[in-house]
């Protein structure tokens, strides 16, 4: 699993990358009350805003970590945004992306490096 400076986690799964936010991020954001997901099939470039999340405090964006195509989104989060606070590293993934430049994954941090960054 890799981590971005924007507190996303990236997990490779059958040639696709599953994207979510870290427990640290979910904790800092506070209770999440709204999620807007991208449409399946959308072509995104690295750093495109592709998810909006709203917590009780404020709105934030999640950026596409890689170039590629959105292949699946976690519709459950739209119905139950609180799931992100309950299980950010597991069931509450946001979307899957089929990367067009898989080597972009190399730019991201290992878990140990991410833990260093937030400590």
């Amino acid at each position: 699993m890799k981590f971005t400076e924007e507190h996303e986690w990236l997990r490779e799964e059958d040639g696709e990358i599953v994207v979510g936010i870290t427990e640290h991020a979910a904790e800092q954001l506070g209770d999440i009350v709204f999620v807007e997901l991208p449409e399946v099939g959308t072509e995104v470039s690295k750093d495109d805003e592709c998810v909006v999340i709203e917590s009780v405090k404020a709105a934030s964006d999640i950026l596409a970590p890689l170039d590629g195509e959105i292949t699946e989104v976690n519709e459950m989060l739209v119905e139950d945004p609180g799931k992100i606070n309950e299980d950010p590293m597991g069931d509450a993934w946001f979307f899957k992306i089929k990367p067009s430049e898989p080597s972009q994954m190399d730019d991201y941090m290992t878990e140990a490096e991410y833990k260093d960054m937030i400590s």
């Binding site: 209770d31 909006v52 009780v56």
Partner: protein, 389 residues
């Protein structure tokens, strides 16, 4: 800034070490930190925005049982002198002279254009008036009061904390320390001994719930706060839930829902202007901006503050522009406060609209992140008030 980077929003801006340095600390700061509060800058103070329970649980706990808020950043002012009440009436469209001893009332300082300089609470405590004003306005308010009321002694109280105990369990919690609180009605004020400290207590608050506001000497504040949070029905509550509670209760936040560009009548605060100060009353007019305010009372304002319920799930916050319909490109108003309402479980907002579009049930259009979305005009408050009248 090329991008609004992911997860870098005001709520996520971390310790803010540079700005936190210039901030004043609350007398209870050590207790807040011990309780695990996350501190943020607010109105020049380092304030607890939330505790480990989080905004949602803190909000719901206040509506279900009781919450303790540290509002010591607010300004506490004493007005002394024989003519204090009469003089204070020259600054506000409010009946001050008619307020009986032992009672508190909501007031508004207005300017010459009829705009609102601040909103406040004032109490008749016998030989003086006790006034509580907003933190961000307190220096300006005190300067204004001193300039406009030269015969009145305007004393800022700088050695007392202010706590608010709010929620349906507030009475039972506080009565364990002082049984006589059960005799107090909404907006009664008394001096009571609580946990060995002389406290100035009012039955009031800013959450829409029953509760008490307690002014206590700084030296005694921690002991009292600890005695209150020791009760199993009481949770410490931060600014985050204070904001969502007051918003659901339809209460204005100064600097957002009201300011010098809004009049009391536009803001839906005409209820705070008693008959005696209105046209035909014994002490009609004689306050700053009376021409405009009395005219708006007689003829109705051009725009008004309304409750707004976004039809979708996305909260609409301050600044979101409003339009008459999806096809209209002329902005007619804006949201002044908005958030997710934990009790109503929908997004809730307030804002200003032209009077012809301000009737509950009207559907208007808002622009959020470049897209239009429908919003329904609703009555305020979103949650019924729970005061002990």
């Amino acid at each position: 800034m090329a991008h609004h980077r992911a997860l870098r929003c005001p709520a996520f801006s971390g310790p803010e070490s540079d700005r936190m340095d210039d901030l004043q600390s609350l007398p209870l700061e050590a207790l807040h930190l011990e309780l695990g509060a996350k501190m943020v800058p607010f109105a020049g103070y380092s304030m607890p925005v939330q505790y480990p329970a989080g905004v949602m649980k803190e909000h719901l706990a206040t509506r279900a049982s009781a919450g303790l808020f540290d509002v010591s950043h607010m300004g506490q002012v004493l007005l002394r002198g024989d003519a204090a009440a009469a003089a204070f009436e020259t600054l506000m469209p409010v009946d001050v002279l008619g307020l009986p001893e032992g009672r508190q009332r909501y007031g508004l300082l207005t300017d010459e254009t009829g705009g609102i300089l601040d909103d406040l609470m004032f109490a008749n405590r016998g030989d003086h008036l006790f006034v509580v004003v907003n933190a961000a306005c307190k220096s300006a308010d005190i300067a204004h009061m001193r300039a406009m009321m030269p015969a009145v002694q305007v004393e800022e109280v700088t050695d007392r904390a202010l706590l608010a105990l709010q929620g349906p369990a507030a009475e039972s919690v506080l009565s364990a320390l002082a049984p006589e609180v059960v005799q107090m009605r909404f907006m009664d004020v008394r001096t009571l001994m609580l946990a060995g400290a002389e406290c100035w207590v009012s039955r009031s608050g800013y959450t829409g719930e029953d509760g008490f506001e307690i002014s206590v000497a700084e030296a005694d504040a921690e002991k009292l706060a600890r005695a209150l949070i020791a009760h199993p029905d009481v949770l410490p509550i931060g600014l985050g839930a204070r904001d969502s509670l007051r918003l659901e209760a339809g209460l204005c936040l100064y600097g957002h829902d009201i300011d010098t560009t809004t009049s009391p009548v536009e803001a839906g605060l005409a209820w705070a202007i008693q008959k005696v100060r209105r046209t035909g009353g014994d002490r009609a007019g004689g306050f700053p901006g009376a021409d405009r305010i009395l005219k708006e009372l007689a003829e109705g304002p051009a725009r008004g503050r309304v409750g707004l319920r976004p039809q979708g799930r996305a909260p609409m916050r301050e600044g979101v522009p409003l339009f008459a319909s999806d096809g209209d490109t002329t902005q007619i108003g804006a949201i002044t406060s908005g958030a997710f309402g934990p009790t109503v479980q929908t997004p809730v907002s307030m804002g200003y609209l032209p009077i012809d579009l301000a009737a509950p049930g009207t559907i208007i259009s808002a622009e959020l992140r470049g897209k239009r979305a429908p919003v329904e005009v609703t009555p305020l408050p979103f949650t019924p008030a729970n005061f002990k009248r």
